[in-house]
């Protein structure tokens, strides 16, 4: 079971490495969205301090959602997904492996580049740790919950917009807690409560989402 999961993660990473531009696109989207906000609202440092964490988190949400379309689409188109569903490895394990690979390709780059964007917003350096930690805990939840939406909309016309309508409301708790953690730290209060709740969301999503993803995939593959 673990061997199957490892094989799927390695395969997805390998496929992505063969087409690096796809991986770069979501990251570039993230950077561009964050860079647009100062142009829209003005470059007042006090304002940027206030909105910085929220903007970075909203951009992370959008960028992660944009990358979700690719999660099952290519495998569905060439029939790999059906073979995986028919295989001996439980579908729940398969989807966790796919979500993990998706996070490594779309979530982890965001986490790593976030301090650079925080620099653009002139956030104090002591916040970088909290920002990175909140993204590190929050973006896997986005991948797991988003995978439910990606599995439900698999192969539908207009799947992209529909996916946004389905998953963005479900992302609200992650956004609230993630941006809240950074803002609490900025206010000089501890961010532990928000980070612990984010960790709780991650544990709950890791435990429950695979069932929903597998059920949704089975329905879409029927």
């Amino acid at each position: 079971m673990l061997a199957a999961a490892r094989a799927i993660v390695c395969r997805d990473l390998l496929v992505a490495m063969r087409r690096r531009s796809d991986v770069a696109l979501a990251l570039l989207f993230f950077v561009i969205v964050v860079s647009l906000f100062p142009l829209g609202v003005g470059a007042d440092p006090a304002l940027l301090h206030a909105i910085g964490p929220g903007v970075i988190w909203v951009a992370a949400l959008l960028s992660s959602m944009l990358a979700l379309g690719r999660l099952f689409e290519a495998d569905h188109a060439d029939g790999t997904l059906e073979q995986l569903a028919l295989g001996v490895a439980p579908l729940g394990v398969v989807v966790v492996a796919k979500a993990a690979a998706h996070w490594l390709l779309s979530g982890l780059p965001l986490v790593l580049i976030a301090p650079l964007l925080a620099l653009q917003y002139d956030l104090p350096p002591m916040l970088y740790g909290v920002l990175v930690l909140s993204l590190l805990l929050g973006t896997p939840v986005l991948s797991l919950v988003g995978a439910i939406g990606a599995a439900l909309t698999l192969g539908l016309r207009g799947a992209g917009v529909l996916l946004a309508l389905l998953v963005l409301p479900l992302f609200v708790p992650v956004l609230v807690l993630g941006a809240g953690a950074v803002e609490m730290a900025a206010a000089g209060l501890g961010a532990e409560a928000q980070l612990l709740l984010l960790a709780a969301l991650l544990v709950a999503a890791a435990a429950l989402a695979p069932w929903a993803i597998a059920a949704a995939l089975r329905i879409s593959l029927e």
């Binding site: 309508l165 708790p173 429950l208 929903a212």
Partner: protein
């Protein structure tokens, strides 16, 4: 008990017609009674004046908006578990009514908020979570509409409804946290501690009327779906 006798669309169709008719008549009568109590009998509020009367629509609509989502998810779960087409139809038929009540709750709430709070909209925890509930209803309806094959539409929408109902409390508490930690509440929902008995009576009658209305229209909608599918 023949629980599954009415699980077949053919046997349910005439029953749904009879229930819908009686519930519809009762809903009209109770709405008339409730509005009479609310608009004529109930006394003017000491603090808010006449504007408080919007609660006779607002509060029952807000109750229904949340309750219908849970009922919808319940029907969706039954449909997934027993593979009964009728359950999925019930879930699908409830969604537009739920979305309608969510919208009415938001709309009447903002009409009440303008004279009372001085603003149509605040990012209060309840308002925000009600808005997200509206998005969840729209997602459910949109997903069903996007899938052409009826069985897949039923099941996919059912999974979404169940995922949504698990998320609703998380969303509610996270939003409440977000708001209470951010800023002191500029407005409060706490009203005068005692409400006149007639006000409570009017609200309960209206809530009952909304219940019966929801049952009537969703059963009529189910009948349309049964007609379409056969």
């Amino acid at each position: 008990m023949k629980w599954f006798w009415y699980a077949s669309p053919q046997t349910f169709y005439p029953l749904a017609g009879r229930i819908a008719l009686w519930c519809g008549i009762a809903a009209v009568v109770l709405t008339a009674v409730g509005l009479y109590i609310g608009l004529v009998v109930a006394p003017t509020d000491a603090q808010q004046g006449e504007v408080y009367r919007v609660i006779f629509i607002h509060v029952p609509a807000a109750w229904m908006s949340m309750f219908i989502y849970v009922v919808m998810a319940g029907w969706a779960a039954i449909g997934l578990a027993f593979n009964t087409r009728l359950s999925a139809m019930m879930a699908a038929a409830l969604a537009p009514t739920g979305a309608l009540f969510t919208f009415i709750a938001l709309w009447t709430g903002s009409l009440w908020g303008r004279p009372t709070w001085g603003t149509y909209w605040v990012w209060d925890a309840r308002l925000t979570s009600e808005l997200i509930l509206l998005f969840l209803y729209f997602g459910f309806i949109a997903l069903r509409a996007a899938i052409d094959e009826p069985r897949r539409a039923d099941k996919a929408a059912a999974v979404l409804a169940i995922v949504g109902v698990v998320n609703v409390p998380i969303i509610y508490y996270s939003v409440q946290w977000w708001n209470t930690l951010h800023q002191g509440a500029s407005v409060s929902f706490t009203r005068a501690p005692t409400m006149a008995a007639t006000m409570v009576a009017g609200m309960l009658v209206m809530a009952l009327a909304f219940w019966l209305y929801s049952i009537a229209v969703s059963l009529v909608r189910v009948r349309c779906m049964i007609r379409e599918s056969t």
